[in-house]
């Protein structure tokens, strides 16, 4: 009943968007060029959301830890890359890799020091990660200041790319972000389904104790998952810092977006995270552009209404398993 209503409202919203986009036909005078750009914005934003959310969902799926310091690790990655590119003159790619390493390392330390011996007390772990995120965010404010700054993109991605339709061009870097998200997703899928490591991880997600009993060193898998998950948060931060900008407070807003993505899709499900990221990115952009003017300031609300509706209908998200 509620599910049907939610689907009907969603379809009506999409129809409203399409009507506004195509009502004046396909000519250059119409709204189609804007629609293309907004859709691309939504898709590339979804790519960014997916990169950071995939780390969160990996950590949750395997360790049952809701890492609320994920946003702080995200911002940390961004700031480290900024420092390396701007002050050390390093190439963007190397800086991105090092930033991933830094975020991953901090995440690993947090896991080993504070979370490992609280396994299973998920609320306590959530509180611990909140405390860690408070400390990290404040320390970053002290070291990197409060002025929003952006990382310079790599040279050959700095120029806009001509799309070949309606004389449109689009920032190459944002497209690269979408490609990167696809690569991350593909790598995840390959590792999950085609390698021994992936097999162990899948077994760990399904039943940690049984996996451990079969002779797998689960603690090592956990530590590796925490490192990779945190490194992905850092990579998200590098992309966000290049495509958008870095500022205090972004840790919280991106944590909230990543949580929305992961919860909408179902915690622990990678496909769910991809779908959640797409929904969030597109709803966010379409709502900002196509809501009637008098409601446009409510667009920020819509993503959270989306979350609340989905959770009310499916308490464990779209693809989440009840555990």
């Amino acid at each position: 009943m509620a599910a049907t209503a939610a689907v009907v409202v969603g379809v009506l919203g999409l129809l409203g968007v399409l009507l506004q986009a195509f009502e004046k036909g396909l000519g250059t005078e119409g709204n189609v060029p804007t629609f293309i750009l907004i859709t691309l914005n939504g898709l590339t934003l979804a790519g960014l959301y997916f990169i950071s959310a995939s780390g969160l969902t990996l950590i949750f799926g395997l360790l049952r830890v809701t890492n609320l310091a994920h946003g702080a690790l995200f911002l940390l990655g961004g700031y480290v890359a900024l420092e390396l590119v701007q002050d050390a003159g390093m190439s963007w790619w190397l800086a991105a890799v090092l930033a991933m390493g830094a975020s991953g390392l901090v995440g690993l330390v947090v896991h080993q020091l504070f979370l490992r011996w609280n396994q299973g007390q998920d609320l306590r772990q959530a509180l611990i990660t909140i405390a860690v995120s408070l400390i990290l965010a404040d320390q970053m404010l002290a070291h990197f200041g409060a002025t929003p700054t952006a990382i310079a993109p790599p040279e050959w991605l700095a120029q806009p790319l001509s799309l070949g339709v309606y004389d449109l061009s689009y920032p190459r870097f944002r497209l690269a972000m979408l490609v990167a998200a696809l690569v991350v997703g593909l790598l995840f899928w390959l590792v999950y389904t085609r390698t021994r490591v992936g097999m162990v991880v899948r077994a760990g997600v399904d039943d940690t104790q049984m996996t451990s009993a079969l002779g797998v060193n689960v603690q090592r898998v956990f530590a590796a998952a925490f490192f990779v998950g945190s490194a992905l948060a850092g990579l998200g931060g590098v992309f966000a810092g290049t495509a958008l900008s870095l500022a205090p407070g972004q840790d919280q807003s991106f944590l909230v977006s990543a949580l929305v993505v992961v919860i909408v899709g179902g915690m622990g499900s990678l496909g769910g995270a991809a779908l959640g990221a797409l929904l969030l990115g597109l709803v966010d952009q379409y709502a900002g552009a196509y809501l009637p003017a008098e409601y446009s300031n409510l667009s920020a609300l819509l993503t959270f209404v989306l979350l609340a509706v989905i959770l009310a209908v499916r308490p464990t998200g779209l693809f989440g398993k009840a555990r």
Partner: protein, 344 residues
Amino acid sequence: MTMDRMLTLGTRGALAVVLVVVALVPVLCTTFFTSQVGLTSLWLGIVAVSLTFLSGYGGMVSLAQTALFGVAGLIAARLSVESGWDPWAAALAGILAATAVGLLFGAVASGSQGIYFLIITLAFAQVTYFYFAAVPTFGAHEGINGVRPPAVLGDPVQDPARMYWFLLVVSVLAFLGLRHVSRTAFGLALQGVRDDPVRMAALGYNVRLHRILGFTLAAPVAGAAGVLSAWSNTRMSAGSISLAIAILVLTTAVIGGLNRLEGAWVGALIYTLCDTYLRGWTDRFTTWLGVVFLVIVLVSPGGVVGLLGSAGSWLRHRLAGGAPPPAAPSTPAPPVPVSSGGAR
């Protein structure tokens, strides 16, 4: 009279002394202390106790308490400043609105448990924040300034004594009321739902309804805190209910202790004292707050009150003389028996 009974009386006496000392604050301390530390820690304690009640007795750790706080505070402020309502009537309207919103939030969130509950209430907090930040009726980001408390309570800035006593009375009433609820049949069932929802459902209890009612009961407490905060500060804005504040209320409740209602005010007092006096001493106040939060969560899941309780029972055994303490007399209860595997 046994030793134990004397000690119980002693504890009660100590509590009475604490209450008297707290009541004498406006007489003994400066106006600055009374308004800055006193008023703030009292209203912060009231909103925190609504969270302590939910998590301690219902196993629901909610980040939406500041949202309900904001609904009541902003509606009351709006009605009294712009529509010229009597402050009491405006306060009542605000608290009723918060209760209705609490019923709605509770109805939606009650299906989720543990960490999902935390996240869905986080979404409610964000929705409410963005709503109030966007809508001009409530002053958008500016908020509503010049809120006048009822004349009986005096001017909260110049002479905060009467406002302080009023907040103290409300705090005591909120404490006694929530404690009473926790001892009724409903309160006991709620604790059963917290500990083992599946078994309670098997026994014929409507688990979801108990959660919804528990959440709705805590809403007017959070709402009252919102109105009192608007009165104490003479203003309220969307910034008063941002995510940072929601996390602050959670921090306060955790520092005080999620297992006992009085922990809310203890945590609020500790936070407010640090906020008032440590900020001048260090630039990195938030870092220290985070460190304290981290240490408390790691060392004492029962918070400061839990630590005091352990110390108290240790002392009790010392005074009672020789009788060896039972194996683990003061093991603090696990913070909140919640896991996402609750409904296995």
